[in-house]
Amino acid sequence: MTSAAIDSPLDVREEPTGGEAVLLSRGTDLELTDELLAPLWRPWPRLKYALAATGLGACALFAALTYTAITGIGLWGNNIPVAWAFAIINFVWWIGIGHAGTFISAILLLLEVSWRTSINRFAEGMTLFAIVQAGLFPIFHLGRPWFAYWLVPYPSEMGVWPNFKSSLPWDVVAVSTYLTVSFLFWYTGLLPDLAAARDRAPTLRQRRIYGVLALGWRGDSQHWRHYRIGYLVLGGLATPLVLSVHSIISLDFAITQLPGWHSTIFPPYFVAGAIYSGFAMVVTLMVPARAIFKLGDVVTRNHLDNIAKMLLVTGWIVTYAYLVEAFMAWYGGNRFEMYTALVDRPRATYAWVYWGVIFCNCVVVQALWSRRVRTSPGALFVIAAFIQLGMWGERFMLIITSLHRDFLPSSWRVYTPSWIDWTILGGTCSFFLFLFLLFLRFVPFIPISELKAMRRELSEAARAGRSELAELGDFAGAGESGGHHA
């Protein structure tokens, strides 16, 4: 933060190219509120086309799922030994995407990172809808989805219980907890903004709907007293939760005996990969939304820069995990591990997936060392698309290669997905976008109350002339000096 900001306490403005400000808006609180609530009231002429297109994709998803449920999962490309295939690839991929939302809203909340504030609601919405997609896959992969409740320990006539030493019931609890806690955290954060929406709503009907959703929030000091600490502790809970969820999912793999899966590196490797793909999804959604809603003054280039730095960091963790995986297979000396990691993956049937993953996840992301790329929305969008593809490919590589050639060459088999598999994958993408569009339409997707509070804090800090002001403006270590050198 330069001295320009300190001179004008109520106006925390920076030049967009300066890249350090987290809030460029110069208007009053009223103008800021109205600007951020405008997408709720303004007509969206092209929305119906977007909703129709994504809704059609969602219908294709439901059709494919119905067809699967009444016919059986023989419709998928799954075979023996590749019994997991697309369902689990997509499950892990979608859950992973959700993780960045929780990371942004909970972990960065605890670290008091101010650039989180503009994008956290957005990322939390992404999390919720990604978990919804993820949850579909294991349920339909059961084959008889109507018996999904067998996974829950309910007192049944048969007198049998789930086997809790298996990682599959852990998944059920982890994913359903994750969905519930993400929802509660999101809704708690929304309350003050729903109240603002209620109070600014142009029609009585909207006023009533947002009035009910706001639960009567008045901004009373008694509300804030419980809300502030409660929200913080919810963030504190979500932090170990997000780490535990992907760790538990990685245990589905790690506690088996299969070469390529049976490894202690899996939990941190999966968590880093999850946050990597999730940040990529934040970029994929944020860059168009920022352009469409002209949010350049609340989602500044500084935000893009910081997200890009997170991509770079997690990208390197993932790269490191790939290296360690191969190294440990070789160093461990187990023939089967060595075959999977050093022959099957890089040189056999699915070698193109392996090298594609390396290219997308480890090579493309290196462009982010350049500050120009980090602050260019278009370039970030393209890189994020590569990362999404790469992270999906990584799960494909992990799951398919370990399964298709295991210990016994006589049982080796090649796996090819069916058109139903592709329909379901594409359908979840559509359904996700459909839900996300509805979210953008009906929910204040930039936290308004938090932004106003942050602006107040920044101006108070500026008045006090405190030296830690610089920290409010930036994160990721680089701070002001790092930014200028690049």
């Binding site: 219980w161 109070d199 008045r218 009373d220 000091s221 600490i229 919810l234």
Partner: protein, 182 residues
């Protein structure tokens, strides 16, 4: 608050000044309504009980999660999985942890609402003119009529601190001087 005087401020500075002055004058039953938490107010509030409720619920949820697993697999119907102990602590930790988080989060959400007296869709404050800006950019202070030092002069203090307007709500006494429009 059903009875007392409320005042509207157009920014946090005047609001904080008025709040601090009223406290200094010995008023204790002060209420405020703000679009976001204001330091001078929230730092003076008694500590919230929400974290303790969440802690208790979290521990309870985790214990219950563990107990269910132990009861199912080690007590009611003993499952021998690869010769591992029936009560296999490491295998039961993930679900116990997740149940703890789930219970704590649910308790947190419900206790934030419950202790704040929400949901409550109607409140007498909503009748006050201009109160709808309290969630947007206006800061409101209320002095409760039951405050031992309460009298009509509160309105003068508030106006001297820069209130846009003061309103008498509830009670039998005629409204104080008001209508200083923004």
């Amino acid at each position: 608050m059903r009875d007392g005087i409320v005042a509207e401020f157009d920014g946090p500075d005047g609001f904080e000044r008025a709040f601090v002055r009223l406290r200094a004058l010995g008023y204790t039953r002060l209420r405020s309504w703000t679009p976001y938490p204001v330091r001078a107010v929230v730092t003076r509030l008694p500590e919230s009980g929400v974290p303790w409720i969440m802690l208790a619920a979290g521990l309870g949820g985790a214990s219950l999660g563990y107990l269910v697993q132990w009861w199912c697999n080690a007590h009611d119907y003993r499952l021998d999985i690869g010769g591992r102990p029936f009560n296999s602590i490491p295998a039961y930790i993930p679900i116990a942890f997740e149940s703890g988080v789930l219970a704590a989060a649910l308790a947190g959400f419900l206790s934030i609402l419950g202790l704040s007296g929400l949901p409550r869709l109607y409140h007498p404050m909503f009748e006050v003119d201009g109160f709808e800006r309290a969630s947007v950019d206006r800061f409101w202070i209320g002095v409760d009529g039951s405050d031992p030092r309460f009298d009509e002069r509160v309105g003068e203090v508030l106006e001297a601190s820069g209130a846009l307007r003061c309103q008498r709500i509830g009670g039998a006494i005629a409204p104080a001087r008001s209508d200083v429009q923004p």
